[in-house]
């Protein structure tokens, strides 16, 4: 009896707050879950497909659906340094450490983020490059690092590792959407997490996460693992190869 009472109470609160009681769910699929690095690898593209599934009884919403797809690469420590003038020289003086920041980050939406939700909500829910590169545990207002964080995002965008695409999600039908994700060749190996969030009228209705990985295969894989697991052998082999090439060149080009 008591349990039933609690359930009724919870349902009552839900109605009072006007919360959508899980009316929508997101179904997502990736075109591939693994990007294989081969010797002619120059980056790759994959596509996120998604479907908004509505429960039959819910009435149609007044606001259109919005989708935010955030892809986060493996986290690393990133250090941002700033050059300052010291006498006649320009040298690195200040630096800030950004622990556990994604080395790869893309945010794709179907329209500009500012039209989907408020700045306040974007900060809270980590939507957009500036908010998404923060770790979940980091305070939204990191003190005194503004210029460094802006520089981090700017430089990573220049390198093609960070991207914000406000036309990156396309609705194929009112409930079916797709979002292409470009993975540049410089993106590191490791596990990438994709977070898909459905918004309507500025409120998050449903979210779904999935992931893919970037791995070295074939010769790339064997060489990289040899370098790490048998460093002495690898080093000796490289040195021997170098000397062999040097010797070969003199015999091939020898004329006298």
């Amino acid at each position: 009896m008591k349990r039933l009472g609690n359930a009724l109470l919870a349902a009552g609160f839900g109605l009072l707050a006007g919360l959508p009681a899980k009316a929508e769910t997101l179904i997502a699929a990736l075109s591939t879950h693994q990007i294989a690095i081969t010797s002619n690898y120059t980056g790759d593209q994959l596509t996120v497909f998604g479907l908004v599934e509505r429960e039959g009884r819910t009435a149609a919403r007044a606001d259109p659906y919005d989708i935010v797809v955030t892809v986060r690469g493996p986290p690393r420590m990133l250090i941002v340094r700033e050059k300052e003038r010291v006498g006649p020289l320009w040298i690195n003086r200040q630096q800030r450490r950004f622990p556990e920041r994604p080395v790869f980050l893309t945010v794709s939406t179907n329209r500009p983020i500012s039209e989907i939700l408020s700045d306040e909500a974007a900060r809270r829910e980590r939507v957009g490059l500036a908010n998404a590169q923060r770790t979940a545990a980091t305070n939204a207002f990191e003190f005194g690092i503004g210029p460094y964080r802006d520089a981090l995002i700017r430089i990573m965008e220049d390198k093609g590792l960070y991207a914000e695409n406000e036309r990156g999600v396309t609705f194929l039908s009112p409930t079916l959407f797709s979002a292409p994700i470009n993975v540049p060749a410089t993106a590191p190996t490791g596990s990438y997490e994709i977070e898909i969030v459905l918004y309507a009228g500025g409120a998050a209705l449903a979210r779904q996460t999935t992931n893919f990985e970037v791995v070295k295969t074939g010769m790339e894989q064997s060489l990289a693992s040899a370098a790490h697991e048998r460093p002495l052998l690898y080093g000796l082999a490289t040195a021997a190869l170098a000397l062999l090439f040097g010797w070969l060149a003199t015999t091939i080009f020898r004329r006298d």
Partner: protein, 309 residues
């Protein structure tokens, strides 16, 4: 055509790398310098991580100096005895250099030390050599005899220190102390800057010890061959940053370039040889000076600690 580098973890154009390493190999064969001081900054400019660039260039330098050593060995233009003394001192210098390198890294000023060292070394050495080469050229024009030729019984004071040794090939009878001292300094600089040090060794042997130019290049290449082969293995063992695919590309371009460089060196007179080397070294120094003295377009930079790799 692009190829993916497994350790540097990025694709690179095969033709671009072959062209670059071929050009650097030509210069290396021409002047008897390893070419690392040109190739390493170029690779870093192509977005290859500095640690990978330094380590992989070591392998390339080892290969192209092997070619050079064999060529000069066949022409009997190599002083093995002088080379061995240089290698011995170089090993001591390298160990000291690695210790200094690590302590500067702990202090967080490694990048500044490297840039300042490049600027001062290259502009000083290049400037001095340029001054000397121009002076010699002017003297030649006036018809006076060049001062480079040694006269009997005339030698700088440092050659007269104890433990004198006779180096027949180099026409040198000098104390081991300044030679080993020079080798230690070069080993030290090489370890800190990630270069072979040929660009210091060649002028030092030419100017301070008056070793004949024909022998200088072969002997310098021998010293570079031994230290860079060791450096390749050390880099592979200590930080796993040698990229074998990049090394092969650099080797192919480098050894071919070095062949043509070595041939061109035979048709080059001493005066223009010194002038060209001076200009080359000076221009690299000025390139680094610009970075240090001009306000940067982007004052910020993002680095990933190498250990996270």
């Amino acid at each position: 055509m692009q190829i993916y580098l497994p350790i540097a973890e990025l694709p690179i154009s095969i033709l671009l790398v072959l062209g670059l390493s071929g050009a650097v190999g030509f210069i290396s064969g021409l002047f008897g310098v390893g070419g690392g001081f040109l190739l390493t900054p170029l690779l870093i400019f192509l977005d290859i991580p500095p640690a990978v660039a330094v380590a992989t260039v070591a392998a390339q330098v080892a290969g192209s100096s092997m070619t050079g050593v064999l060529t000069y060995w066949r022409r009997n233009a190599l002083d093995l005895k002088l080379g061995s003394v240089l290698v011995g001192g170089g090993i001591v210098g390298t160990v000291l250099g690695v210790l200094f390198f690590n302590s500067m890294r702990r202090l967080g000023q490694l990048e500044l030390v490297i840039t300042l060292a490049y600027v001062t070394l290259f502009t000083c050495i290049g400037g001095l050599m340029l001054f000397d080469a121009v002076r010699a050229a002017l003297r030649d024009r006036k018809g006076k005899p060049a001062r480079l030729r040694r006269r009997a019984g005339m030698h700088p004071a440092w050659m007269g220190l104890p433990w004198r040794m006779r180096f027949y090939r180099s026409q040198l009878y000098a104390s081991v102390i300044p030679i080993a001292g020079l080798a230690i300094v070069i080993g030290f600089i090489g370890a800190v800057l990630g270069v072979g040090g040929g660009f210091i060794l060649v002028p030092a042997l030419l100017y301070f010890f008056r070793v004949p130019p024909a022998v200088v290049v072969g002997t310098s290449l021998f010293q570079i061959l031994v230290t860079m082969t060791g450096a390749t293995v050390l880099h592979a063992v200590t930080n796993q940053s040698v990229d074998i695919v990049l090394a092969i590309l650099l080797l192919i371009g480098g050894v071919i370039g070095a062949q043509f460089g070595g041939r061109a060196a035979r048709n080059l007179n001493v005066g223009s040889f010194r002038l060209l080397l001076a200009l080359l070294i000076l221009s690299v120094g000025l390139r680094f000076a610009i970075e240090l003295f001009l306000p940067p377009a982007e004052p910020f930079s993002v680095v990933m600690p190498e250990s996270a790799r």
